[in-house]
Symmetry: D2
């Protein structure tokens, strides 16, 4: 089962065409990852940016259908790959069952010097545990 982030589409997300301006989708994806790190990995961004970080190394998205002001988006996040210092995500955003965008990204764990570093034991264990749950529930 994917980690779910709920985002109502707000006035500030929308462009002159009345639909979500696509850079705002990336802010929503970042919010999703931020919540995932706080709630699943128990490594909140607020405690992180002195000693380490998880910058995004790459991201790609496909926008299948426009999203309008007031729409309720459900963004599903799943782990696609856990590397020594990297972590792959897949996103599937829907509104009332209709797919609006899909995406994948890779984040990298870095140390205080900004260099890629191995995931520490506890966060890695939580990520592995979460991946097992994802699989066993058929995500």
């Amino acid at each position: 089962m994917p980690f779910i982030y709920h985002q109502k589409v707000r006035f500030r997300h929308c462009d002159p065409a009345g639909i979500v301006f696509y850079p705002r989708y990336f802010e929503m994806m970042n919010d999703t990852v931020e919540d995932f790190f706080e709630k699943v990995v128990l490594l909140p961004f607020s405690g992180m940016h002195q000693d380490c970080g998880v910058p995004t190394a790459g991201i790609e998205a496909q926008f299948q259908a426009p999203t309008r002001l007031g729409d309720q988006l459900e963004i599903g996040l799943t782990i696609t790959r856990l590397g020594r210092s990297s972590l792959g995500f897949a996103y599937d955003a829907r509104c009332g069952g209709e797919q609006r965008f899909t995406a994948t990204s890779t984040v990298v764990f870095i140390d205080s010097g900004g260099r890629p570093a191995a995931w520490p034991g506890t966060p890695r264990a939580r990520l592995e545990e979460h991946m097992k749950k994802e699989t066993s529930h058929g995500a």
Copy 2:
């Protein structure tokens, strides 16, 4: 030769780690495409959103190195493919010669009903002319 967009990295682009928050890069890429349509295709966004549009269908980016407050980014835009109603772009963003991010995207020409439509003759001719210049100058 690519179309060049200059963007100074500003306070509003930067995150608590002191580097550009990656969704802001997508705003910069949108600014680049906006200028390209105004200056090269002579189809400014300001005259467009009643009758037609050029929404982004997909985009991917790789972030090679962080960009800091005050950095001068030079974003090069080239056309990778001109379809019946689509247009592919490649982006190469550098600061003082160092690559900061690369990206590709696809935009689609749509009519007032939001359906993909063939590029009108004049914009298509300008895109084709620009592609010839890109090749002849070795971009």
Copy 3:
């Protein structure tokens, strides 16, 4: 009792000093007003922007103390004045009891031509009813 909007401070709100970048506060205030119109006035922005609108005519804010990543903001909104076509708001944003910012703004009801117009009867009645509740509960 004021209308309350809850906003967790996210990575995308914060600047290189690690605190909320003040233009993001205005986005939060807009979200607060957006929710107020949907939940109290029953006039959601999503149904509004064809025939009418409620643009902000003026706004001022004082930032008493910085707000950091992870902070839980509680933004209280009260009505200060209901005019023929205007509406005055006061905001009081706190985190754990500490005041972070206060603000006031004026929005104006406009018709499809963008001209100030009298609040229609039903929204006006709801605004008046809400003002009574505010007073009777001691806001």
Copy 4:
């Protein structure tokens, strides 16, 4: 003569009503102050956020007329008051002579501990020199 900042209104600034979303005006005002500190005070934000800062303590704005995609804004900035650690600004934003918004703000010089501190001698001298020029040219 005021310090002038030029800002073309871009797609990313505009809301579903096709006009500038007012929180974006505050980003433009921040850009204006950022340029003023770099070019007039010779104290660029990029060199500042380790040891000191100039957070905004309060700001108010009146929006006289809407601004549309493609408009060329000219934002004039003048100093209204130089205190021991504070600095008052006035903004006057116009497009083709028509006033779009006016604003005032106060920023405060703070030290590395986040406490208000006296403006150092060199920046203060430059601010005073700039104020003389403003007056002598009749701004």
